[in-house]
Symmetry: C2
Subunit: 318 residues, 2 copies
């Protein structure tokens, strides 16, 4: 379901590094070559390129990219070149250090906790303290106030069972618990936190399906009618990231281009983090939700090398 296109015959990491080195040298930078190489390599190939580049030239590839490129193009290429756990740790840190701490800033934490594997979340937490000398939890406690804090702590602290194990009795009783919390407008009840933060994703999808069958509406619609407005928005992101991440990321892309100006950081994040995972599904969902093409949206709101790079990750032949 990825949009990333890797050539059938991939050059060796050494060949890729030599071409990158050539692209950096001389007057100006050959951005086209950089897009062509990095934009067509998957995470493990990019890792080999990073390692080989450092061995060959005794400098970090990311440092070199930083000095050669600029603007949104630079941000996107660098984010793409990081090891995914390191990338997400940096995104999480930026979100927690942003001045405003609304749902929009913090949804990246939910994406890491709910739209990635439990193992990836652990790797991000490990990368976080290697990079920032403190734990992700410590930064959440010091940066986010209640009631978001307890949900975010629960979400990033969980290590969910990572296999399909669904108990239909649990689904019905926990759908009832969630319904009761929504009805009494107690979205921040401990039981809501435990259910959403601890149950495995398959169990939760079953619980949400049971909720819809029994109470008539998707649970996120009922949540949006009650309680603290910031919390309910966050919970909607939680439910979408668990139930159908493609909906969430289609919305991230849409919100980033809607209205005047573009939120390049969010647009970059959505495409860079999902190009290797489910961007084909995001594209389909986008078309369904907004009756227009995601690719046209990106083409219309971006330009230059930044546009070329995002479109490459979206699978376009540039």
């Amino acid at each position: 379901m990825a949009t990333l296109k890797v050539p059938e015959v991939v050059p060796s990491p050494t060949e890729d590094c030599e071409r990158l080195r050539k692209a950096f040298q001389g007057l100006g930078t050959d951005e086209k070559a950089i897009i062509w190489i990095l934009g067509h390599r998957n995470a493990s190939q990019r890792k080999k390129i990073r390692d080989t580049y450092q061995q060959l030239y005794n400098e970090f590839l990311i440092d070199r990219l930083h000095s050669e490129l600029s603007g949104d193009f630079r941000n996107a290429v660098i984010l793409w070149t990081y090891e995914p756990p390191e990338r997400d740790a940096k995104l999480a840190r930026n979100a927690l250090k942003a001045r405003s701490k609304g749902t929009k800033q913090l949804e990246v934490l939910v994406e890491i906790a709910c739209a990635s594997s439990p193992h990836h979340l652990m790797s991000v937490r490990h990368a976080y303290f290697l990079l920032f000398d403190c734990s992700l939890e410590e930064d959440i406690v010091s940066s986010v106030s209640q009631p978001l804090r307890k949900f975010l702590l629960g979400l990033v602290g969980s290590y969910r069972y990572d296999n399909e194990a669904v108990d239909l009795e649990v689904a019905s009783s926990e759908a009832e618990t969630l319904h009761e919390a929504i009805k009494t407008k107690k979205l921040d009840h401990d039981h809501v936190v435990w259910i959403l933060c601890m149950r495995n994703f398959f169990q939760l999808r079953s619980t949400f399906a049971y909720y819809r069958e029994t109470y008539g509406n998707p649970i996120e619609e009922d949540i949006m009618k009650c309680g603290n407005s910031v919390l309910r928005s966050l919970l909607k992101v939680v439910i979408w990231c668990i139930n159908s991440p493609e909906k969430h990321f289609a919305k991230v892309v849409r919100d980033s281009i809607a209205g005047l100006g573009t939120d390049e950081d969010s647009l970059t994040r959505a495409i860079v983090t999902r190009a290797e995972i489910d961007m084909l599904k995001v594209r389909t969902e986008y078309a369904y939700m907004y009756k227009s093409k995601l690719d046209d949206a990106v083409i219309g709101d971006t330009s230059g090398d930044y546009k070329k790079f995002l479109m490459t990750l979206l699978g376009a032949r540039m």
Copy 2:
């Protein structure tokens, strides 16, 4: 600081397996050989022996030990032969499934969360869901009631920064927060949970030291004077496991042999889990706290192969 004695020249895993196989064969079992081999190998050597045994004889070493041995001796040898994360996941599960859920049963969870490395805790959580098809957190929620539940969830959910990073201002302000919670008998306040569950161990030791200097008593002594009796006992274990695990394990050994009868499960757990870590310090601390020798206590309260095995782990020449 381990008491485990590994010979200078260690036989190959194949040689060890052949000797173990011989010990199992024929009439009766050669327990002495089993103690001699497994009781003198460290965790990575035992892992190689397990793997090699399976390859050579197409059966699990632990299954064979189970069928050959019996009683407390069997429990101790098997616990020692498991991969440490698997061993601790099983200990945690047994604690959560025990009928009574007092501090005594649950302290094994605190040991895993506070007297081991953050990385080990993650491995235990991973082993837990591989073994039991659910997460450790789910079992805590379903087995333990408040106020212990929120502390245990916080403790096992944390992924502490694993390096020495101490901020003296944080130490003083958090010592003050803890003192306020103790003074107002609100041990289950969220701030107490966050401080004890999230801060790195070096930071917490500095906070506890500041507390003692400023308020005159070790923090665990002040805690024992206030609040819910089960919670304060658990918090004392938390503080000892963070500050001086040797005190905690000396007490586990002492409690296991004190009074009529012996609590073999606790005695086994203390020796098996610490023989490779800090049993020398536990022994010294035991002598200081109880004015008697830990080894004499074990010799006096155990017998047969069980005694021989524990004493081997304690470094005795049997």
